[in-house]
Point group: C2
Chain length 164, copies 2
């Protein structure tokens, strides 16, 4: 059975216990921007209930043009204001660099990506770089931002910087 078939089957259980429809606007008016890492189930990890917060995730949890697009929609259309960044220890993007990654993809596929992988070495500095990118965007309505790092060895979230 393919993974998606297992997910469709598992969803039947979720639907049987479904608590009912909620509004489209996040109740706590907050958007979380986090890495795609499989070890971070953000709802229990951050104490979020269904309907509380937007959750934006990509490789690294970095701020790209698409992150800004999502946050601009989140703030202008759906009323969120606070932004919480969640990067983490032992990230896949700390195990490569942008040139080595482009080489790897080109060797495997014959095509060299024109975009950078967004690899990094220092996770705290990567959080601060994401905050700088958010502050530089002219499209957001709010710059209440907190940057955190999640330790995948202990389950503990640590604040790196907060402002706004």
């Amino acid at each position: 059975m393919a993974e998606y078939e297992q997910m469709l089957t598992a969803n039947e259980e979720w639907a049987r216990n479904f608590a009912g429809e909620l509004p489209v606007r996040p109740r706590r008016a907050v958007a979380v921007v986090a890495c795609m890492d499989s070890r971070m189930p953000l709802f229990p990890l951050l104490g979020l209930a269904v309907g509380d917060a937007h959750v934006i995730r990509n490789a690294g949890g970095v701020v790209t043009e698409d992150t800004i697009r999502s946050l601009t929609i989140s703030q202008h259309l759906l009323g969120t204001r606070e932004i919480v960044l969640v990067h983490h220890t032992d990230c896949g993007l700390q195990k490569t660099d942008d040139t080595a990654f482009a080489d790897l993809v080109e060797q495997a596929t014959g095509h060299r990506p024109p975009w950078p992988a967004q690899a990094f070495t220092d996770v705290d500095e990567d959080v601060r770089e994401s905050i700088r990118r958010l502050r530089a965007s002219p499209y957001l309505l709010s710059r209440e931002i907190c940057g955190t790092v999640y330790d995948v060895a202990t389950g503990r979230l640590r604040e790196v910087a907060a402002e706004g």
Copy 2:
């Protein structure tokens, strides 16, 4: 108390019950691409355990250059192959269009976004458009793709298309 402070407090409970470190590579070799909507806690909704799958989320769950960047890293560096798309009913992006959204942001901030909101009307067609974009990318190693729509009124996930 700011939202992030509540999350840091809630995380203390998570860390106290932390089950231990897991490998960086997703156990089920699958990446989920979903909308940022606050009503979709993907781990219980899809039956995912901690460590099972990468989770990529943005406004709409659409396939952008950043989605391709994340999936390319997921497949080349961290061994995933299957891709599962999760769009949903009652999406914020069905309540606007790209021009109206750019107008809204320009009126509020004085700056007109150069990128499209990626608004849509037909959610099934939006899933199929995301699948076409994945198939058109030369950087992925696998095109095992399933597209689904989640009904926020019932909690039920419905398959739209599967291939690969």
